[in-house]
């Protein structure tokens, strides 16, 4: 299946979803004025991708410095989707990478972690 590559803008993150290497990366800031519109193609790609991963090990790296309230909902929906996939017996490693100078980035990661039941969100300090 094709990779999904979306370049970053000032208010949307860089998306590098590599289906071949099972490596999904989302990096940057996210505060589009119309979140649903921006993320629709991302979710349809994910649906198709997660359907066919079989027993491959998938790594998801999220490095988000800032997200607005509607992007927060999108991220939660994305994590719920990963959690459902893991509950089907598939393998996903989910990493939340934060900058230690930005104390709220760690806090946000912890809040997402609290809302996931079976999927572990690994909080990782960004290496300088």
């Amino acid at each position: 299946m094709d990779n999904l590559i979306i370049e970053a803008t000032k208010y949307t993150p860089e998306i590098k979803f590599d289906a071949e290497n099972n490596q999904l990366e989302l990096t940057g800031e996210t505060y589009p004025e119309n979140t649903a519109e921006f993320y629709a193609p991302v979710f349809s790609w994910l649906d198709e991708y997660l359907e066919q991963i079989e027993d491959n090990m998938v790594t998801v790296n999220l490095e988000i410095n800032y997200f607005n309230s509607s992007s927060s909902k999108v991220l939660m929906d994305m994590f719920d989707k990963f959690e459902e996939t893991v509950n089907e017996g598939k393998k996903i490693t989910l990493n939340w990478i934060y900058d230690k100078d930005n104390e709220s980035a760690l806090e946000y990661g912890e809040e997402f972690q609290e809302d996931l039941e079976t999927l572990k969100l690994n909080l990782m300090e960004k290496s300088q």
Binding site: Y66, N68, E111
Partner: protein, 184 residues
């Protein structure tokens, strides 16, 4: 008329307003206002955490104005190169050792009661209750009349260091002017 501009300016100076905008807001403007806000606060020695709090309140109020202001710059939902717009006013300033941000826009009178209720509810909550409410809403999904996640005001309430202040004033016919003050 031309003299009144100086009155407005000295009023802003008196209230230590360092960034203001009045008119049709767009996503691009939000980004540019954010850039200048972050640069200015950084030069003043504000911490990353304070800068991000003020910036994120600005993003939420701007998006509220873009989506919900009853005053549109262009009739019949005409979209411009800048995408969706809505009219409002934003002022950001300093007060003692805090930053404040005020935002105002016209809304339909019919939505005043509901908005007042939700703001009062947020004002009555402490930080743990706000966190719980935010997470519940985030799991649950938005109300039918929301254009985003319905989390904007909760997000704002979680960032402020003093309770939110608001005002509603009848303007004309079916419209009221909604003002919000936030302090970080």
């Amino acid at each position: 008329m031309v003299k009144s501009l100086q009155d407005i300016n000295s009023d802003f100076c008196k209230h230590k307003v360092f960034l203001s905008f009045s008119g049709p807001l767009s996503q691009d403007l939000t980004v540019e206002m954010g850039e200048i806000l972050k640069t200015k606060m950084k030069l003043e020695g504000a911490t990353i955490s304070t800068i991000l709090k003020v910036f994120s309140i600005m993003v939420e109020v701007n998006h509220n104005i873009i989506h919900y202001s009853a005053e549109k710059a262009f009739k019949n939902g005409i979209t411009t190169e800048q995408g969706k717009t809505g009219c409002g006013i934003i002022t950001i300033g300093q007060e003692k050792d805090t930053y404040y941000l005020m935002a105002g826009n016209l809304i339909e009178k019919s939505s005043v009661l509901k908005l007042k209720d939700s703001l009062n509810k947020l004002i009555s909550m402490d930080s743990q209750e706000l966190k719980k409410f935010y997470k519940e809403k985030r799991k649950q999904g938005p109300d039918a009349d929301s254009k985003g996640a319905g989390l904007g005001f909760i997000e704002i309430a979680r960032k402020v260091s003093c309770p939110l202040e608001y005002d509603f004033r009848d303007v004309e016919n079916d419209l009221a002017f909604f003002s919000l003050k936030t302090i970080v």
